[in-house]
Amino acid sequence: MKGAIFTCLQELVEQEHGILFWDKVLAEKSYDSDGIYISTKSYSDEELFSIVTYLSEATKTEPSQLIRSLGEKLFSKLLPMAPPEAQQARDLRSFLLMVEKIIHVEVLKLYADANLPEFKYDNQQSDYLIMKYTSPRKLCHLSEGLIFGAAAHFKQEITIEQTTCMHSGDDCCTLKILFL
């Protein structure tokens, strides 16, 4: 997992609960990184899941919701790093269709070790878009958050329905994005 996600999570926690709370989160457990994160380095996935689990318990919030919020915030951090073509996308649909073919391709050029999820597009209707998410990390909620972040960027209102989910034993997570 890239350090950018950790730094974003740190920023989110510090904004909502303060620096001391983040210090407490890190003090709860011993991490390989010692709580020092820089965006370009990679860190263990377990470290993120462990922090999220603790946060969930401490704040009594569902991990999925926490991850979704992280994704929503993360979008504004990642967008400046996206290829110009994606940054200049005319709307959310166009942007989402670029994720697999353009953004992920460019990310892999920069970070060959990045473990990116795979998206497949299906039933592209005018009022909704289906994105099938597959990743061993099962971070479909992070994707949802990122899509919500993108929707906010493009000033579009959406809802997302997950018809299948890997957490429920499905092969992939099916995200049905409804454009309102």
Binding site: G18, I19, L20, F21, W22, D23, K24, L26, A27, D34, G35, I36, Y37, I38, T40, K41
Partner: protein, 400 residues
Amino acid sequence: MNQTLPEKIAALERAIKREKAGKKQAETELENYSRQIYEANLTAEEQSRQAQIKQVHLSFLTGVAAETWKHASFDDLIENYLQRCHHFLDNAVCCFFQMEKDYSRSHIQTYCRDQALIQPDCDISDDKVHEIFDHLDCFKIGLELQKNSHGQLFNVAELSKQKHSEFYYQHIFILPLFHKKSNNENNLGVVCFFYHDKDEIDIFKLQTLESSRANLAIAIEQKQADIALKKRLVDLEQSNQALEKAQNQLIESEKLASLGLLSAGIAHEINNPIGYVLSNLDSMKDYLSDIEETFKPLVKLMSASQAISFEGSEQFKQNWQQYDLPYLLEDSHEIINSSLDGLLRVKEIINDLGRFSRMDDDELEPTNINEVLEKTLKCLTTNLNTSSNLILTMMPITSF
């Protein structure tokens, strides 16, 4: 979050510590990235330089491949190759020649245009090529080139027959292009590149030259085959013309032979009637003499002073005078003699024609040419224009 102040201070200190450590790690990362980028730039620059060099090599090879086949003559083809090599090898002085069986040089073509402009001493002329190779051990060069049929770099000092080489050029790269070996010829076509200093030699470019050799060798082989084919075509055309001439002569001979056969046939057919007509006329001549002799006493009696008369004598006398019998008898003799002469002449002509056509004898035999000429002229007598004047002068043939 009920924390005491010291706990808060400690927490902030830890946060600052993490921040500092993170900053240090980020700086280290940044340095690593900078170094990687620098090294990647160096690699990219080197790759770019290599790519440009390869592009030059490729351009040379494609140029040679594309233009080699366009040139009509062998000399043009070599001229183009020398020109391209000259520019590819940074204005290297180069020449082509054929090394003959006795190691002499022929078909020399040189190319050193730009170099000669810069430094006239570097100029290579046909004489200079002869001069250089006259002082080198060409036997050894020929042996090496025939042993390994690829381009080889020779050191002039090592190959020189003299102890000290005075030549400006100290190294020669020789590229064999073809080796013609047949009953009549045994020669080696080579391209030479002259270098003063070993540092001028770019071994990679020479390797590329070696690569271009195969294509050029095929083109040369093809061109030489074309030239041989054209020569053969000319020979065939000449043979064809000779054959046509011979055929026409044969047709003429056939015509003459047919004419001879026809003449012989006609002569044979005419000879028979002429024979019996001659015989009949001869008999008729005798009969006329006999008739004349028979009438002689009667005519004598009739013309005497005391003529004898008998029954019908008056009528006989009257007829005799009316028809002028003496004239008739005399003229009949002349007619018969003239006819006999005419027929004998016809017979003679027929015999001459038979001799002229020679249908009865195919074997060669001594012939009196004067006689043949005379007889031929006799055959042509009627065809000769009366206004024409034929003067025939013949040496007497004594030994025939």
